[in-house]
Amino acid sequence: MARIAEGDREAFRALYDDYFDYALRTANLVTRNAEAAKDAVQEAFLRVYRHSGQYDPAKPFKPWFYCILLRECCRVIEKEKKTVPYGERLDHIGTEQRFPEAETDIYAALQALDDKYRVPFILKYLHDYSEKEIADILELNVNTLKSRLLKGREKMRKSLGGTFYGSEA
């Protein structure tokens, strides 16, 4: 990151190579729109480049990066920029819960959840992140995150016809 802060494009490309795949996967799942996902990833990497000097090397890079990416996902979804922490925004931007049809699968059940439940699940299962890491990325208290994962599971279980689908959070 220090090299990137000095404008080293090769170092930036190396970071892009390391993080691009899962960044785009995450953005695809969060935005549910391939073009919006591309925009979000593009803007996230640009932000990383521009603000690389502000990165604190004493802290892990992933939460910093995914926090930026999720903000960009939110921005492209809403087409407006806000400055409140993403975790708080999840409380407000969630749409009405849409239960899937009877034959939909576990993925459809997940994507039917409100964003505040849906996004933590994407981070947990796509990335295998720990609850602490997810809480850091979403700027949430760990207990709040645990509560959301638990409630999310209950909602998914109901939407899937009462089938228990996984272990407790």
């Binding site: 494009r9 995450t26 521009r50 921005r75 920029k81 699940f121």
Partner: protein, 251 residues
């Protein structure tokens, strides 16, 4: 079931080949554009004077050739305009690189009322209107509320030489923008001076780029591009391409 959910997420988030390089190209184009906007080039007065002499000579020779052709071939007035028009095709296809992709655009010829200059502009996306004696190329469809102005304004200053006008433009930009970067000598998209200014570092931050070029006589043209940072590769790139088609006809 945890494993199944992970498998489904990986399956649903698959991406087509080429996306990685497509996005990287867009990122690089944006960074290059921003570097251009913030590049600070100091020009000493001797260098500037020598450069402007070169521009004047080059432009003067070209303008003299045009003037001679007009003088010897056709009378003045509307016939003159008709003849000037005949030098250019009314429409043509021009390749433009936008956000890393090359695309063909249909461009229409515009000659100003006095027959002083010609330019081709993308008629699919933009319209050309006259405002306060200036020609303004702007979006056909109005932008959503909250977006800064997007336009290319062409304005002639018959009694102001480019060097002086560029300095005035830089001073005027400094009053309205947080960051104004020095006067740069350029050969593209027009030969003359370039000054850029930006208000912030966000997607909708206002950007203004001013080119000042010789009008072939004792005056100048000021060509002002306005857009927002996120549109640098889009509207910005399209305007820059249009300026490559800008031709001074009189003097």
């Amino acid at each position: 079931m945890d494993r199944k959910l992970k498998e489904r997420l990986l399956e649903e988030s698959r991406q087509p080949d080429g996306v990685k390089e497509e996005i990287w190209n867009r990122i690089e184009a944006r960074l290059n554009m921003e570097n251009n906007l913030t590049q600070d080039v100091k020009i000493d007065s001797k260098g500037r004077d020598a450069f402007m002499r070169k521009i004047k000579i080059t432009t003067g020779v070209a303008a003299a050739a045009v003037a001679a052709a007009v003088f010897f071939t056709l009378p003045a007035g509307t016939a003159f305009m008709e003849d000037v028009k005949s030098w250019f095709v009314p429409e043509k296809k021009v390749e433009v690189e936008v956000e890393g992709h090359k695309e063909q655009t249909d461009q229409e010829l515009h000659l100003d009322e006095a027959g002083s200059y010609a330019i081709y502009y993308d008629k699919e996306r933009y319209k050309l209107v006259q405002q306060d004696g200036k020609d303004v190329i702007t979006t056909k469809e109005p932008l959503p509320e909250g977006y800064p102005e997007v336009s290319l304004t062409i304005e002639q200053y018959r009694d102001e030489e480019p060097a002086g006008l560029a300095e005035k433009a830089a001073e005027a930009l400094a009053e309205r923008y947080a960051k104004v970067r020095g006067i740069t000598q350029v050969n593209e998209p027009v030969a003359g001076y370039r000054i850029s200014a930006i208000n912030g570092n966000d997607a909708r931050s206002e950007v203004e780029v001013v080119y000042v070029t010789d009008n072939g006589g004792k005056g100048s043209y000021m060509l002002t591009l306005k857009y927002f940072l996120e549109a640098a590769e889009g509207h910005g790139a399209r305007f820059e391409q249009m300026l490559k088609e800008f031709r001074v006809l009189e003097q």
